[in-house]
Amino acid sequence: MTAAYPRDSVLAVIGDGLGSLLVHATARYLGFDNRQITVFGPSVNPVGTYQQFAHNLGQTVLRSESESHFLAPDWPTFAQIDAWSRRSPAPLWRSTRRKYNPGVPEILTEATVVQKRMGWEESRVPLRVGWLQREMEPMPHFVLYDEDANFVGRSKHVMLAPGHGPLSFPPVLAKARTDPSLAERIVQAYEPKRYVPGGRYIVLGAGIASVNEWANILDVGGSALALTRNPQPETQDLNVPRCLFESLGIDAYVALPFEQRVRFLGEVLKGTRPDRRQWLERIERGQREGRFAAAVGDIAEIEAGAAGLHVRIDGKSTDIGWLDVTGIVAGTGFNKSVLTIPLLRRIVEFYDLPVDNGRLKLQTNCGVPGLDRPESRLCCMGLIANNVIPHGDTIAGLKFIARRFVSDVARAERLRRRSFPRRLSLQLSMGRDVARALRSVPTTEQLA
């Protein structure tokens, strides 16, 4: 059952996705109870959006490693729970070599267990927040309104976890999608898709979403032309170099001026993809069968054509010219501008917050400048926070921010924290419940 509203709380999360679950689980772990926490959002399932995207991509394992899951502390790791559940040392062995990636069905199962055990739904107000107002009296807090400007509650501390902006298309593709005769043939990797045997597809980008699509197209018997703007994407297992995931790297990163951070992000996030043994095999097979090729260039023009689309490509080193293809798949991700998220746009405009090239210039604690105070925090997580925490939109990054935000709130509120024996007992019982639930989930094949 969801929470009644208007509702006053110590901490509120605006957004009902993975971030909300991690903030909620961390707050419960440290000692807050459900009456003190509110999650605002219409979704009954905190992993619903992620699940849909993963399904559309055909993604079967996470890119993240064993620590990236939904229990608040780093023990037990997901590999340990998986090993316990399956009575198999294989996950532990893979984990010691950093070759273990939680399967999507498994991690979603864990999220469901955590959601139920921690009572996420009891804290949820099923409304989208449309506006928040900073109030200073009688103590600093925020007043929250829904999208119809109805008062929905107050909270001393607020985490903005609105998720991604809309899907992003390069300008030529965005323009072509406005033509009804072309629109259905130009899709985003994160959208639902259907490939046909013999179909010819151009896949833009070389990140994880694009590589998934190469494999998906080849699997159904289609042909894929991988089109990238840069000759050779770097291959790495995580979204950013490993040490950037931890304070050592984040210290150095945050110490850079904002502009240098943005430039650095552009460098490290340019179309990186993990090296997955099984993907490589499928792609090499496709190459041998003449159904996969890679080229460097940009799509310059798109028209309706006999195959569906008639596409002109400006090749960077080779003359590609006009192509007839069944469709184009853009693995170009999401629009990263905060101005594409209605609530943030309103806050930015009303409070005149500093935005540079679509990025909100957050404080070094992910706080919203001007509105954030130590005794009443307004913090951001997810992609909008990656100019402070470079992997802010990964599970590990969301966890990093959630832990620090909730710890700030606990200090501000002088929370009486859960004792060590109770933490240990909670973790053991949560681990046991997750392990039990995993037994009913078929093991997902590891790709690395």
Binding site: T26, Y29, L30, E67, A72, P73, D74, W75, P76, S95, T96, R97, R98, R134, E135, M136, R242, C243, F245, E246, S247, L248, G249, I250, D251, V254, A255, Y351, Q363, T364, N365, C366, G367, P369, G370, L371, D372, R373, P374, F400, R403, R404, S407, D408, F420, R423, L424, Q427
Partner: protein, 189 residues
């Protein structure tokens, strides 16, 4: 994990407390100081490696390397135990080392993450779970300007709005500020 030198040393302290206590008890019971001295040797050697050697050769430490380092440290501790003549048999020294190591690794893997949420993220350092760089808070302009609080005359605009004056004709019957209009459907329906 990407531990710093400080993180390695702090972690070494934390994980060897329990083995040291147990070794001290065994030493007290048996009257042989070798047990606690061996843990001391292990600790001193570990701190020396943590501060002077590992940071130079290891930046990111994958889990498998933990076992390799344990093996290497065992060889060094074993040699030192012989050189220092600690009064333990080979079997006792081996059992104590690996017993201590198992206890230490459990402390590291299971207990420290429960004690400190940010211990792994903080490179093995025991910091408060907080932000790396302290934020510079900005003053907030909640109100555009301060309202008139003085005891003197009211602001001119208030006076202009005052009902004590006759309302000018041009202000009568102006449309309401609300832009909400009845839906055409509600009129016909």
């Amino acid at each position: 994990m990407c531990p710093t030198s400080l993180g390695r040393v702090q972690t070494r302290w934390a994980i060897l407390i329990a083995p040291a206590v147990i070794a001290a008890i065994v030493s007290a019971i048996t009257g042989n100081a070798g047990w606690i001295v061996l843990i001391g040797v292990y600790f001193v050697l570990g701190v020396a490696l943590d501060s002077g050697f590992y940071p130079l050769v290891i930046r990111w430490q994958p889990p498998w390397l933990t076992f390799v380092l344990a093996g290497g440290e065992f060889v060094l501790v074993f040699i030192l135990a012989h050189v220092l003549k600690l009064g333990l048999t080979n079997l006792e020294a081996i059992a104590l080392y690996w017993g201590a190591w198992v206890m230490a690794i459990w402390t590291k893997v299971a207990l420290l993450p429960l004690l400190s949420l940010g211990w792994i993220e903080n490179a093995g350092e025991f910091r408060q779970t907080g932000w790396s760089v302290a934020p510079e808070y900005m003053p907030l302009a909640v109100t555009v300007f301060e309202p008139h609080m003085g005891a003197g005359e009211a602001p001119a605009l208030v006076r202009q709005f005052s009902s004590v004056h006759a309302l000018p004709d041009e202000l009568r019957n102006l449309p309401s500020p609300s832009a909400i209009r009845p839906s055409p459907l509600s009129r016909t329906g």
